[in-house]
């Protein structure tokens, strides 16, 4: 930041827009002079280069092109997005054939799903009368609607595959062993949630596949009656009976006895709000724990 010294009176050229009459400075010129007297650096601060630099520095305090090791470390420490990752990383962790990038890939797919899903919400209506028509509209009447639905569909399928492969990678490399036990548990939960998100999303187009997949899914929930039936069979005579837990679960899932409007709105809210929020929170926790558990697993941790 530089401060230019200016002569307070009788400066070189009259400031622009300064009246035009000689001898008597215009209003703008007088404001200009007043500002110079009170805070001489104001005009300097407004120079495009200075202003741009200061705005950049106020947001991000490190150079955008780090060269020294120190600057490179600072680039990670000071960035909101990057600070969850270590500034220095073991070469082994960078080997593509060690992780195949599967964990990060599943997060990328989740981001793609969130963005495409949010955009699809602008068109979709969770009503049994309109849902299917909106699917047709996405194809024919909405620009890029088909592509967005395609991205949502393919990202979802890819995410389920990638999450499973990620789990296999973690198992085969022994990366779940102490101290990473709990992160594996979180990972199992993440996989289950991913599957549930796939399931709830399947109902929304309200086509034949959707309807019958959910009918069968709800039927499976109803089979939890097995538990209450067996408990009741073992209970002593006259004891209060456990309610049919499967029927309760099925009803809670569908909001009714049959798959219909109530089921659609429940699955919709679960799919677009409840489950994604839980999944996001767990992903953040999963990543935080990677750091807290000592970073990505490495052969240095155990003697072979």
């Amino acid at each position: 930041m530089s401060v230019k010294l200016v002569k307070p009176e009788g400066g070189s050229a009259p400031p622009p827009g300064g009246g035009g009459r000689s001898g008597q400075p215009g209003l703008l010129a007088r404001i200009n002079r007043a500002i110079y007297r009170q805070a001489p650096e104001v005009w300097d601060n407004l120079r495009p280069a200075t202003l741009g630099h200061n705005i950049y520095k106020s947001i991000y305090r490190t150079t955008a092109f780090p060269k020294t090791e120190r600057e490179r470390s600072e680039a990670f420490f000071n960035s909101f997005l990057l600070h969850i990752q270590p500034a220095k990383i073991e070469k082994h962790a960078l080997r593509f054939t060690y992780t195949f990038g599967l964990g990060l890939l599943s997060m990328y797919l989740f981001i793609l799903l969130t963005i495409s899903g949010l955009l699809l919400m602008f068109v979709y209506v969770p009503s049994t009368e309109q849902a299917y028509d909106r699917m047709l509209d996405l194809r024919s009447a909405v620009s890029f609607g088909g592509v967005l639905r395609g991205m949502h569909f393919w990202s979802a399928n890819a995410m389920i595959t990638v999450v499973f492969f990620h789990m296999c990678r973690v198992f085969y490399t022994g990366a779940y062993k102490p101290p990473r036990e709990f992160n594996w548990v979180i990972g199992v939960l993440l996989m289950v949630l991913t599957l549930v998100l796939g399931f709830t999303g399947y109902l929304l187009p309200w086509d034949q596949l959707a309807f019958w997949a959910i009918t069968v899914g709800a039927g499976i929930a109803g089979k939890a009656n097995w538990v209450s039936d067996h408990v009741n069979a073992m209970a002593p005579h006259g004891a209060p009976l456990m309610p049919a837990i499967g029927d309760k679960m099925r009803w809670g899932l569908l909001g009714s006895d049959v798959v219909g409007q109530e089921a659609l709105i429940r699955f919709y809210v679960l799919h677009v709000a409840v489950l994604p929020v839980i999944l996001t929170a767990l992903i953040i926790y999963h990543m935080w724990r990677i750091r807290k558990d000592g970073g990505i697993s490495s052969p240095k941790e155990s003697p072979e």
Binding site: P178, P179, W212, V216, A218, G219, G252, D257, E262, E301
Partner: protein, 158 residues
Amino acid sequence: MAVNYDREKQELTRRNFVSLSGWGIAGIATLGAAGVFGRFFWPNVQYGPPSKFVIGKASGYTDGVKQNIADQKVTIVKHGSQLGAISMVCQHLGCTVAASSTGFDCPCHGSKYDDMGNVTHGPAQIALYWFDISLTPSGDLEVDKSKKNDPGHYYNIV
């Protein structure tokens, strides 16, 4: 980089016990409140279609023919003076069964039932329900899908 675990000495002193009970009670109270609130998802109102519906007069049904009332997923069977209403919802996982020459077949997982709704082939394990039938003041028959019975729950039409 081996990680060292030294297990902290965990003793249940009186102080720890009181602390643990305090947290435990607070936790149970919170969970209980949340659990009770779960009733929100089981409202005392049913938005779905009503369970009772009118099927017309008994004379409208032919002897020995399975008369399918598709939008209610019910089949009416008549044998002489006897009338029954069989559910078409598969007892396995809730798909809609289709009438076939041998009885009813489920397309989803291959369950098969005979003409009475008894299971002849798994994975279903229970027979199809037979519903209650009653006579309305107008002389029409009314099926109540909330009243479920075993196969052979016929009504004599007088």
